[in-house]
């Protein structure tokens, strides 16, 4: 291309691969289809069917499950007539009691605060987008959601629970509680929510609403 063409390029007519910067012609992607970069193979667009409805439903499910997952015991250990229960918050407190303040804060963030914030942000976003309702801070909410995404670590916490159960198996009797079942549901809702989320559609909608 010559320099003249360069200045006349309309940015909105193209896709740019965020991973390798390849310039691609924009085309329509039907629902349930994906577009991959022809050079580096990264997923450019992954268009989901009813993305907004799904993320709203999953955010509601997540919010409902969040409370039993945090309030009821996840595991109960019984041995010689003694018993001890564990919730996510009590594991944070155990680190605090071991004088590991930074690690306690980290677990508090990764296993309680960030998963809750992700659910609330998604609830707010998908409700406003579904109702086509211009609302304050939509772009902020989406940006924060994307920034927090990889710092919520409930599924890793779950693997930690499994490792702990196996470690204790010949020492004591460990029984799962209501918290564990709720936590499993919460993790499934969170994981499904991130696979059903179509960021391009969300950003386009946010842009339309903010222009009004």
């Amino acid at each position: 291309m010559s320099n003249k063409e360069i200045t006349s390029i309309q940015p909105d007519k193209f896709w740019v691969c965020p991973e390798c910067d390849l310039l691609l012609n924009r085309c329509a992607i039907p629902d349930k289809h994906e577009a991959h970069c022809s050079r580096c193979g990264s997923t450019l667009i992954s268009s989901k069917h009813h993305s907004i409805e799904w993320t709203l439903a999953l955010a509601i499910a997540g919010l409902i499950l969040f409370f039993p997952a945090n309030l009821f015991p996840i595991l109960t250990l019984k041995t010689l007539g003694l018993s001890q229960s564990e919730t996510i918050f009590s594991s944070v407190k155990a680190l605090y009691d071991s004088n590991l303040l930074m690690v306690a804060a980290l677990v508090l963030m990764a296993a309680i605060i960030i998963p809750l914030m992700k659910i609330l942000l998604m609830l707010y976003l998908s409700t406003c987008l579904l109702l086509h309702k211009p609302a304050p801070m939509l772009a902020w909410a989406m940006r924060s959601y994307q920034q927090l995404d990889s710092w919520g670590m409930l599924e890793i916490y779950m693997l930690g629970i499994l490792v702990s159960i196996v470690k204790l198996i010949d020492v004591a009797d460990v029984t799962p509680g209501v918290g564990l079942y709720s936590l499993t549901g919460l993790i499934i809702a969170t994981l499904l929510s991130s696979t059903q989320l179509d960021p391009h559609r969300f950003w386009r909608r946010i842009e339309q609403l903010e222009k009004r």
Partner: protein
């Protein structure tokens, strides 16, 4: 011919993927408010700095004990590796392998992977580009799973609280390990994969107008 968007005067928001003209470099994205840059700022230097810091933290993380398991008043603080060996002694090979992978093998693979990617940019190794992208995505995805051992310490610390009968406390090695994991996650976030493709284009003679 493969055009890099930047050589055509187009830049992309790294948060919401909106395209913009090069004249908007340094301004905020009109859609999400993130500051636009041609490439992530000081990507190579920041990635090296965070990576080196995490490598340094990995030394105390492996030398210092991360957890003390006391039964009937007996039990010494154990390092990550001693914890794995204890599991092997108890015949729990599967779980020993899971902990070994998450706590020792993954951190090493992440460091090696990021070093290869950084050297790719700095020394212009432009072979196996797609494999390098896969490697980056692997490093980015796998990083958080190293938090497993931290969660295990937290969960055991909360549930094994039976006074003088049995107790688990966390030790300072856990802080060093958690910091090291966070630093490698940040290092992976700072790395800009487009730089390896810029090098690739430079090698095959296209990127004459890629400005820094």
């Amino acid at each position: 011919m493969q055009h890099s968007a930047l050589t055509q005067g187009i830049i992309i928001c790294h948060r919401c993927a909106k395209t913009a003209g090069i004249q908007q470099d340094g301004e905020t994205c009109p859609r999400c408010g993130t500051r636009l840059h041609r490439r992530k700022l000081h990507s190579v230097a920041y990635t090296w700095a965070l990576l080196l810091a995490s490598m340094i933290m990995l030394i105390p993380a492996n030398i210092l004990p991360i957890m003390t398991f006391k039964a009937l008043g007996k039990g010494d603080p154990a390092t990550i590796m001693q914890g794995v060996l204890q599991l092997v002694d108890h015949g729990l090979l599967g779980i020993a392998l899971v902990v070994l992978t998450a706590s020792i093998i993954i951190p090493l693979l992440k460091i090696i992977g990021l070093i290869i990617l950084l050297l790719t940019v700095q020394l212009g190794w432009t072979t196996n580009m797609r494999q390098k992208m896969l490697m980056y995505h692997f490093v980015e995805w796998i990083g958080r799973w190293s938090m497993l051992d931290i969660f295990v310490v937290a969960i055991l610390g909360a549930i094994v609280q039976l006074g003088s009968l049995a107790s688990v406390t966390g030790n300072t090695g856990a802080t060093a390990f958690a910091v090291s994991v966070i630093l490698t996650m940040l290092a992976a976030n700072c790395f800009d994969t487009r730089l390896i493709w810029d090098k690739h284009l430079e090698k095959i003679g296209y990127a004459d107008h890629v400005g820094r």
